[in-house]
């Protein structure tokens, strides 16, 4: 919980994660932070939405109307995105891609609603990257078998293996860092505008919000999912 000294010494610039209360977890001091609270709010919103969507789809009518239209539109466009990128393999990954798409999108947009975006915390994006990495690894083993996996590691020559391993391990790190840094840069920019220019910050920060929260957030969501799908279909190609 080190608050930066240089910028926040004489102004109200504040974009750090704050601890709300700490508790003792088997001898470690563990903090419940604003990230946890914002994450919880995002998850609750999504759960309420999904609950209502489930109720609506249970009583679905032949000709969709009202809320059913919205739900079908979301599901169909996500399915179309997965299918157009992954081809015939895409069927099994609609769940995963759709889930992380909706979650990351809502997290990024939540900056617009006054929360500190949960994805601007590396503790949120790294698990997403690791989940993707695990999925890639499992599918590589499943489709290429262990022999194909080892052959892929020693691709041009056997002594190239360390570099291939580094390249594999870099995937989740670069995925998560890209998302984290993009959202963090938006958060920092908005904090700077509201902190340093608070005297003249009327109306025009809305345009910045549209760029940093909506546009950048949507693009990064799309990129995260596209890269996940690209890596996955790469892992599933058998030679």
């Amino acid at each position: 919980m080190v608050i930066g000294l240089l910028l926040s010494a004489d102004s109200e610039v504040d974009f750090m994660i704050h601890g709300i209360f700490s508790y003792n977890f088997f001898g470690h001091e563990v903090w419940i932070t604003t990230s946890h609270v914002c994450l919880l709010i995002v998850l609750l919103t999504l759960m309420v939405f999904l609950f209502i969507a489930g109720r609506v789809m249970k009583h679905a009518t032949e000709v969709p109307q009202g809320f059913q239209n919205v739900v079908e539109l979301i599901a169909e466009s996500l399915d179309k995105m997965v299918d157009s990128t992954m081809g015939k393999n895409g069927k099994n990954f609609r769940n995963y891609i759709g889930t992380i798409f909706i979650f990351i999108l809502f997290s990024n947009i939540s900056g617009l609603l006054g929360l500190r975006a949960p994805t601007a915390d590396y503790g949120t994006t790294l698990p997403l990257g690791i989940a993707t990495f695990t999925l890639i690894f499992v599918n590589k083993i499943r489709y290429q078998k262990v022999s194909g996996f080892l052959k892929g590691l020693m691709d041009p020559w056997p002594f190239w293996m360390p570099i291939n391993i580094i390249g594999d391990v870099a995937v989740p790190i670069s995925l998560s860092l890209r998302l984290f840094a993009n959202v963090l840069s938006g958060t920092v920019m908005m904090a700077l505008v509201y902190g340093l220019l608070s005297k003249i910050a009327f109306f025009w920060p809305a345009a910045l919000h549209v760029y940093f929260d909506l546009f950048s957030g949507a693009i990064q969501t799309y990129v995260f999912c596209m890269l996940t799908m690209t890596y996955l279909s790469d892992a599933m190609t058998t030679e």
Partner: protein, 84 residues
């Protein structure tokens, strides 16, 4: 040789500024990508959607190196690992 904390903080700020020079590369790269995408759309206006999504994906990946520079700058400014 011992330096006092204020000196190290000042040097950290200079280092953060230098780290953000990394922003030049992605700027140039994204500009090139956008230019080529514009000419591709000019040649084949029907493929505008595909070209745009490919361009955005490439640009977002190209942006990564600049963001690493940003992260280094942010860590130098706010976490201040050298001044501890």
């Amino acid at each position: 040789m011992e330096f006092n904390t204020e000196f190290i903080k000042g040097c950290s700020a200079i280092g953060a500024g230098l780290a953000l020079i990394a922003g030049i590369g992605p700027g140039v790269g994204q500009g090139i990508a956008a230019g080529h995408a514009a000419s591709a759309v000019g040649r084949n206006p029907g493929a505008k959607g595909d070209v745009t999504s490919t361009m955005l994906l490439g640009q977002a990946v190209a942006e990564t190196t600049g963001l690493y520079g940003l992260l280094v700058g942010m860590i130098l400014l706010f976490v201040q690992p050298l001044a501890k």
